[in-house]
Point group: C2
Chain length 482, copies 2
Amino acid sequence: MTDPFVVIGGDAAGLSAASKLKRERPDRDVIVFEKGSWVSYAQCGMPYYVKGEVESLRDLLSLTPEAVADRGIDLRRRHEVVAVNTADRTVTVESESTRFERSYGDLIVATGAHAVADPIAGGDLTGAFTMHSMDAAAALRAFLTPPNAVGTDIEKGGVVPDLEYVDAERVERYAEMEPPTGVAIVGGGYVGVEMAEAFSAHDLDVHLFQRPDRLLPEFGQAVGETVEATLVDHGVDVRIGTEVERLAGTDRVEAVVTADERVSVDLALIGIGVRPNAGIVDDTPIERGASGAIATDEYGRTTAGRVFAAGDCAEMRHAVTGEPDWVPLGLTANRAGRAIGSTVAGDPTPVGEIAGTAAVKAFDQECGRTGILDHGRAREAGFDPVSETVTAGSRSGYYPGAAETTVTLTADRETGRLLGGSIVGTDRAAIRIDTLATALESDLTVPKLERLDLAYAPPFSPVWDPVLVAAKVLNGRLSDAE
Amino acid sequence: MTDPFVVIGGDAAGLSAASKLKRERPDRDVIVFEKGSWVSYAQCGMPYYVKGEVESLRDLLSLTPEAVADRGIDLRRRHEVVAVNTADRTVTVESESTRFERSYGDLIVATGAHAVADPIAGGDLTGAFTMHSMDAAAALRAFLTPPNAVGTDIEKGGVVPDLEYVDAERVERYAEMEPPTGVAIVGGGYVGVEMAEAFSAHDLDVHLFQRPDRLLPEFGQAVGETVEATLVDHGVDVRIGTEVERLAGTDRVEAVVTADERVSVDLALIGIGVRPNAGIVDDTPIERGASGAIATDEYGRTTAGRVFAAGDCAEMRHAVTGEPDWVPLGLTANRAGRAIGSTVAGDPTPVGEIAGTAAVKAFDQECGRTGILDHGRAREAGFDPVSETVTAGSRSGYYPGAAETTVTLTADRETGRLLGGSIVGTDRAAIRIDTLATALESDLTVPKLERLDLAYAPPFSPVWDPVLVAAKVLNGRLSDAE
């Protein structure tokens, strides 16, 4: 009897791997150790739950523990793997009541990432949150909901009791507090921007503090500026280039403090990034890459035999640079986990590359990005970057609903190869980034991009799609440079 | 002094070529002969003008004759080129008052296509229309508008007088008639489907007759069935597999006659396809391809020296088969015309390939298609086609507005290469076809398609985009077949 496939972490990557192996090889034992109570939840949906657009926390569960069990997977929640021994092929597991070792035939490390909060003093005050757990989302929504709000969409606390794994104590504590009136969002990346929309829906005074010189830095300047203008239009107080020194308060958050100012708030949301949970591999032959995440090859294999890693704790190869990179995103985790499940089942399957394709909603603006936009990064990877930004219509100009769509493309001057792109607009903009993501994976040049046979129909796209307009302009510039 | 660049046809392809050459080489003389009164109009927008969503016929003009002149182009409307002499490099031109010859340095044939109406007896009765000219669109809208409808969006006839080139006599004749109450649409392709929506907006009884076994045959079965159900839901009487034998009536259309039935209507719209206007090249060394359209190479050159052809009258190379094909669509015409303008200017520029990418709106359904879906056609091109159709969500299931999206993919069994795809759904479905169109141009295989790093964000796309779900399922089937 082969030793089991042991999975460390019961979220997207881990459960995808477990499910795929069990489907292909029902004879293999599969054990998943998850240190928390939650499994397989849609982290990207949490801002919409806090906002109130998603009714119940339960809606964010992709798989219940029962559904996992139905797949024949031995799921052990509240079991933390505290050590990996690659020589003996064992893991050491701790739960509340016990500590034991377990042998593995194959192992996948799928421990995810954690939100960075530590650098901000006061991050442990009541009223300070990060958005990296279902418990935080539940507590936050409980905090935002007026007491006795029965009969509205959101019943105070009423959305959680049927989920046994929520941190009920924390939720109830926040449910009993008066709802906040002012919120500081620390960080203007995805989480910050999405949460600005969520808090605005609750009529809070929203202050957003962003240390870098624009919002959504990974999306490039044009997107950042458009999103900033949109947030301001919606009443958000956006402070660009402003560092939050600390959160002030005795037990509860009372204010954020910057170099120049003290802004009174009773809620603080810290969204300054995530870091891989990769400590488990220290003191093992499993190597971490330059990013700090676990190094993997094209099959998701680590540097130790029969040990895989996937998801937010692992590096993957970047489609543009061909180099290892760390971009923790949901599809990457699901796809890599699934591929590893196939590989362990005996069908070697590449985990695929990442292009850093991402989309985010900022009120009515749809934003997308893919590949390498930043010129510094492009130069590091050996390219000579050149970019163009154009604004074009989303539909034929005469058709109702046409909206300005701004596209930035970055290419390599010498080869004309597309390196990356971004898009922002209110009319079907985000989904258009997939055209560029697909082009990137095929190493398409800008002249070829310009000649793509994309769809034209007045209600959906003008003759020259905004992506094609951008390619045309950038191509003109590349030709001039010859 | 070089002889001028002569352009036959003043629409998308011809004016794109003329404008591009004039921009790059202001010293070159450019003459455009257009046999009609209209230039550069958005044919694809006409259904929305008839519907009333587009207010004025003027909105559909991309370029006015004055704007063309401002570009330094010598535009001669109501001048028909009746002969081409490639030995002498001359064209023979007729206008109302004169007939003359003109030498050319380079020539582009951009004569477009015409709607097929002849096979239907009665197609010349009053009340019978095709949708292939601005005059027809103007007359149709005049016919649909109630007399004395001043003050509504649509003033009877009031939308046209400021355009000197409209056929005012025809418009006024229809404006004076009582608006129709029942309409027969003959043909269930793009035009038929779009016009069903347009006529329904005017509260007509709409009967749609389609001889083939489904609507939008080029979009595949899944799209055809969804669109049929949608039209029926909106009260359209859809007759599939039903041939119209003739239109009956003395002077005016009174009924459509099929083998079994006579349906009373007072308007008939014939949309049974278009054919290339390529007769001009007969008796010249300029060859036509198997489709009947003018044969061209990758630079849009015909078989005669310094003679190009582009747009709806010309063949292009298909991205999947690599063979000449004829797919008359707006982007193709614009792109090929522009490329030929560059080539004539001295910068040889490929016209690009066509994938037959198209999108169409059918009430709330968005439909897209690209490449080769039809198995018969795939086999003719030497492939062994295999298809899968899946229905998946357009957004994360918990996010409001998620809608079913149906994707069909066709691939070659042996190589796994993607051959074509279609999509239908109500939520941002059409634009997703661009992902497949881009994949086709890169000869992507289905396993690679499955690994594309597409955008995921709950409001726009689920973790596994419907396109990826379809790739996953088709890939499973390709693997099983190994």
